[in-house]
């Protein structure tokens, strides 16, 4: 290419690159089926400069383009370095596995995903990275409740003043050197964030590869990226895109590997029988589903097969009916009356303990809440009501709460010593997240009950769970 006059600027959500000579950047982005696209895409409608060659590049590829130009001895002027204007001071001593994870991440050019079980210090892992790099940092979290937790942790454990931390989400819009933002807000305001941060940290990074949220990673130039999760894998397999969006998994520890840092817990699986009426309805619905599979010669192997049927339901009544029947059967299996009775037995047994009851289906926690008059938090619970319930649970005014999926991740619920899973899905992520709710270091051994319906889908789902802990089958 020789010497070239190149100007770079942010244009909307993209980075525009304009030059007086053609730029043949060799780096290509591999897509599915080996279709490759260039990083730089030519465009004709820019009027910023009089330079003849105008290109666009996704912000996440900015540094790749910059490095490629540098190899051709073309330097560009663009403000892409954002250092913190203050020093941070890490006030905690990293645990062995945290130090190791950090080393692996640094060794991969400070890009990658760290997988650690819930309750083992992923927040501290992020603070170690911030302290190391001293760069403007964007921390992306799934919920507004987590923003407060993160902010407190940054102040207490990194010695950063509150005024130096920006919060974006839930009505607040502050961008500062260290900014904590929700996924929803980051996706919406990405162009305002694009060039301001050198380090981006994604908490619960399994959310990132979704169609909507992946644009956050695409829309930032940040060269350094850290993803944190207990289970980055997704049923739709989009977690495979994390390699491009952030980097590969650079460090992983399973629950048993960090057991010395978390409280011991007991896992008890309790099998319950469906009532005759429930069994009949269950069998009827499963027959509809199986007949459909046979008629279409579909071998049902798991989430992929299910997705295929979901897509078919858009144009086929038979597929739609089969899907409804499968969901109905699942619901019956997961929410059997017998389980509701077992819940009461367990509540009696743990009358003096703090208990959290989990379920995937809102309908069952509503039944539990209604039947046993227990405080309830689901995705439909208003913010004020949720805060009141969590606050009462923390201070001990409430000792029992029931929850849908909303308490699965991250929120500090305060230590409960008993967990009851009324319905499971076979999704490893949710199961592990639930464990984390009670796996906080404390004196007594925690116990997690898993209530499974005999001879149903759920039995198979429960057996897919790979945790090997001490436990008894009742």
């Amino acid at each position: 290419m020789g010497t070239a006059n190149v100007i770079i600027f942010q244009k909307g959500h993209d980075i525009a690159v304009e030059s007086d000579t053609a730029l043949d950047v060799a780096h290509l982005v591999p897509l599915e089926d080996e279709v490759k696209e260039p990083l730089l895409v030519r465009e004709m409608s820019s009027y910023k400069t009089n330079l003849e060659y105008k290109y666009r590049v996704l912000p996440m590829h900015y540094f790749s383009v910059k490095d490629a130009l540098a190899k051709e001895k073309i330097t560009v002027k663009f403000r892409d370095e954002n250092k913190l204007s203050f020093r941070t001071k890490l006030k905690v001593t990293p645990r062995d596995y945290q130090a190791q994870a950090h080393k692996m991440w640094v060794g991969n050019d400070m890009r990658g995903v760290v997988v650690l079980p819930t309750g083992t210090g992923k927040t501290i892992q992020a603070l170690i990275a911030i302290d190391y790099l001293c760069e403007n940092t964007l921390v992306v979290v799934p919920t507004i409740d987590l923003i407060k937790q993160w902010k407190m942790s940054v102040v207490e454990n990194l010695g950063v003043r509150e005024d130096d931390i920006g919060v974006f989400g839930g009505g607040e819009h502050e961008i500062k050197a260290i900014t904590i933002i929700t996924y929803a807000s980051a996706q919406k305001y990405i162009s305002a964030l694009a060039v301001r941060f050198d380090l981006v940290i994604f908490d619960e990074v399994h959310h990132l590869p979704s169609e909507v949220y992946r644009t956050i990673a695409m829309g930032l130039i940040a060269r350094h990226r850290l993803g944190l999760s207990a289970t980055p894998e997704r049923a739709d397999e989009l977690h495979l895109d994390l390699d491009d969006l952030i980097g590969p998994v650079v460090f992983r520890k399973e629950h048993e590997d960090v057991s010395s840092y978390i409280a011991n817990f007991k896992l008890e699986k309790i099998s319950v029988k469906l009532s005759d009426e429930e069994k009949e309805r269950y069998d009827e619905n499963m027959k509809i589903f199986r007949n459909f599979l046979i008629s279409r010669r579909i071998r049902f192997t798991g989430p992929r097969s299910y997705s295929r049927i979901v897509m078919m339901s858009g144009r086929s009544k038979a597929a739609y009916d089969a899907l409804i029947a499968h969901n109905e059967a699942r619901k019956i299996a997961l929410n059997a009356d017998a389980k509701i009775k077992v819940v009461l037995e367990l509540l009696e047994k743990h009358r003096k303990d703090k208990v959290i009851i989990f379920s995937e289906y809102i309908s069952i926690v509503e039944i539990i809440s209604k039947k046993y008059l227990i405080a309830l938090i689901t995705s439909k619970t208003g913010r004020k009501e949720r805060e009141t319930i969590l606050s009462h649970f923390r201070d001990g005014t409430y000792t029992k709460i029931a929850s849908g999926k909303v308490l699965d991740e991250g929120i500090d619920v305060a230590d409960a010593s008993v967990g009851i899973i009324i319905s499971g899905t076979g999704s490893k992520r949710e199961y592990i997240q639930r464990l984390g709710r009670i796996l906080r270091p404390k004196k007594d051994t925690a116990v997690l009950y898993e209530l499974v319906s005999e001879k149903t889908l759920e039995t198979k789902a429960a057996s897919r769970r790979k945790l090997k802990r001490k436990g008894e089958d009742k």
Partner: protein, 567 residues
């Protein structure tokens, strides 16, 4: 007319392979489907005040005889029927409601909060005998029997169906929803039409601006030149798209494009058109195209979205137009002038000034983005190359580089700040740079002999020819132009500036009147009456010419006095 978006997964369509690619042909409801819709409405009406669990979605699918269409119709019906949680008045007496209100309990959630506190205080956080406990709870607060239902009244299962609007135009809404959803998944819409009146172009541009999408009008075939868009057999192509961006899905601006496209159909009510759109469904590209007639036949007489009657782009534009429209000026201002058609694009000026055969366009460059500034400057450059007369009125807050670029185009530039455009400089520029007076006076000079003889003849007959008449005769627009013409012509009579041309005898007659008024101490009104009898309606300048002056004494009294000779 409401806007309904139907999920794209529920839009029924056929795929067709044609030369230009894969097409989709969506299913639309027709007149013959009205009966089915009536049945759907009947079912909904029968389900009013019933709980959500009683509602059978399959019934709708059965009536419509198609799963996708049935589910899509349910979406449309959501505009008229909705499930909602009953309020406390359905469960408690008004006295109980009042009591609860005073306690700050006005929702099921807050009532439950009270209950859970009660249960935790007395029963350790849960209870097996719920009915007994709820009774105790109700007794504690003096609440009636409805407390159990009220506690869970905000749950989905408890919601009941209610009517929330008059059911009408379901078919229309459905069809409109299909089109809107397809546009919402598109990356552009191209509308082709054989004619495009200037007023419509203006409306279309406003729509696009209001919705933040790009609109380019190009001409295919013949059709260059300034005019009403009917030129020479060519056709117009309106391309509506989002700005070029790598980021995000290609159909990122779809919903805005959809709003604009539907709004444009409203603008093009009386015009033939057809449209083509590139639509993305499940990551596949399809072409969706229809003729305007089909859109109209479906009864989609849609309103114009976003652009109303006399809307201006900005406050400065509005003030500009008001000033020039209201002032008595020789230059007349026109809104929505005809567009200027080039072989590449169509340019729509903001205003034009008209006087005689002169037409000058005005471009007001206000609060544009940099991108738009550059695009505008480029278009203005092309206008300059075509010698289109124009004045640019630009925002003074633009940076120096942009200002330089604007000035380099070569048009006169006037800068404004805030909402106030300086009108004086614009009028001066119109006179100095765009007046065709030089041509007119050349013509007058060429015929001065004839014109002078004509005027002399009129003066000889009437004794006086007013300046106004002569101005019209010469085609002059200002007093300065008229004076210049009189200098060129050279009449025999007496020319008094501001009055007209008089015969010598008329002057003497008028002098006599003024002398009498002076000597007999008469006032201006006397002189004016006498002048009028003599056929002259101009007083003050004639009195001054004759060496006299009108002295005002107070507010109403006047006196004619002789002017003092200056040494």
């Amino acid at each position: 007319m409401r806007n309904v978006s139907i999920p794209v997964a529920l839009i029924k369509f056929r795929r067709k392979q044609r030369e230009k690619g894969k097409y989709i042909v969506p299913f639309f409801l027709k007149d013959e489907d009205e009966m089915k819709i009536e049945q759907v409405v009947e079912y909904y009406d029968s389900m009013c005040d019933r709980k959500i669990g009683d509602f059978d979605e399959k019934r709708i699918i059965e009536i419509m005889d198609d799963m996708k269409v049935g589910r899509a119709v349910q979406f449309v019906m959501g505009n008229f029927y909705c499930f909602r949680s009953p309020d406390f008045s359905g469960y408690f007496s008004s006295r109980d409601v009042e009591v609860l209100d005073k306690m700050g309990v006005s929702s099921a959630g807050s009532l439950r909060g009270l209950l859970f506190e009660f249960v935790n205080e007395r029963y350790g956080g849960f209870c097996g005998a719920r009915d007994k406990v709820i009774l105790e709870f109700g007794d504690k607060w003096g609440l009636g029997d409805g407390v159990d239902d009220a506690l869970w009244s905000d749950q989905d299962d408890e919601k009941v169906l209610g009517k929330c609007g008059d059911v009408k135009d379901v078919v229309l809404l459905y069809n409109r929803g299909v089109i809107k959803t397809l546009f919402s998944n598109s990356e552009n819409v191209s509308i082709v039409l054989p004619e495009l009146p200037g007023r419509m172009i203006r409306r279309i541009y406003l729509l696009c601006k209001y919705n933040g999408v790009l609109c380019d009008i190009s001409v295919e075939g013949e059709g260059e030149g300034e005019g009403e868009g009917e030129g020479g057999g060519g056709r117009y192509v309106l391309e509506i798209s989002g700005p070029v961006e790598l980021f995000g899905k290609p159909e990122k601006y779809g919903h805005k494009i959809g709003n604009v496209a539907i709004g444009i159909f409203g603008v093009l009510e009386c015009v033939e058109y057809s449209f083509t759109s590139v639509v993305f469904i499940k990551n596949r590209k399809y072409v969706f195209s229809m003729a305007g007639e089909e859109v109209k036949r479906m009864g989609l007489r849609v309103g114009v979205v976003g652009a109303k009657g006399d809307e201006f782009d900005s406050a400065p534009e509005e003030k500009f137009f008001s000033f020039f429209r209201d002032e008595k000026l020789s230059w007349k201002v026109e809104r929505e002038p005809a567009p200027i058609v080039t072989d590449e694009f169509v340019y729509v000026p903001d205003f034009s000034f008209l006087r005689g055969n002169s037409k000058v366009f005005v471009e007001i460059m206000g609060y544009f983005t940099e991108y738009y500034q550059k695009k505008k400057i480029w278009k203005l450059g092309r206008m300059k190359e075509m010698d289109v007369p124009m004045i640019i009125v630009a925002n003074s807050t633009y940076d120096e580089g942009i200002k330089r670029e604007i000035e380099e185009v070569g048009y006169p530039v006037v800068y404004f700040k805030g909402k106030n455009i300086p009108y004086g400089p614009i009028l001066r520029i119109l006179e100095e740079k765009f007046s065709d007076f030089d041509e007119r006076i050349n013509v007058i000079e060429g015929e001065k002999g004839r014109i002078a003889a004509e005027i002399d003849g009129d003066v000889a007959r009437a004794g006086f020819v007013p300046a106004g008449l002569l101005k019209e005769k010469f085609g002059c627009f200002t007093d300065d132009e008229f004076d210049a013409c009189m200098d060129v012509i050279g009449v025999n009579g007496v020319y008094i500036k501001g009055a007209g041309v008089f015969s010598a005898s008329k002057i003497e007659e008028l002098r006599g009147i003024v002398e009498v008024a002076c000597s007999k101490k008469r006032d201006r009104a006397y002189v004016a009456r006498k002048f009028l009898d003599a056929g002259v309606d101009v007083v003050d300048v004639v009195v001054g010419y004759l060496g006299y002056a009108i002295k005002w004494q107070g507010l109403s009294k006047t006196q004619i006095i002789k002017q003092k000779k200056r040494s």
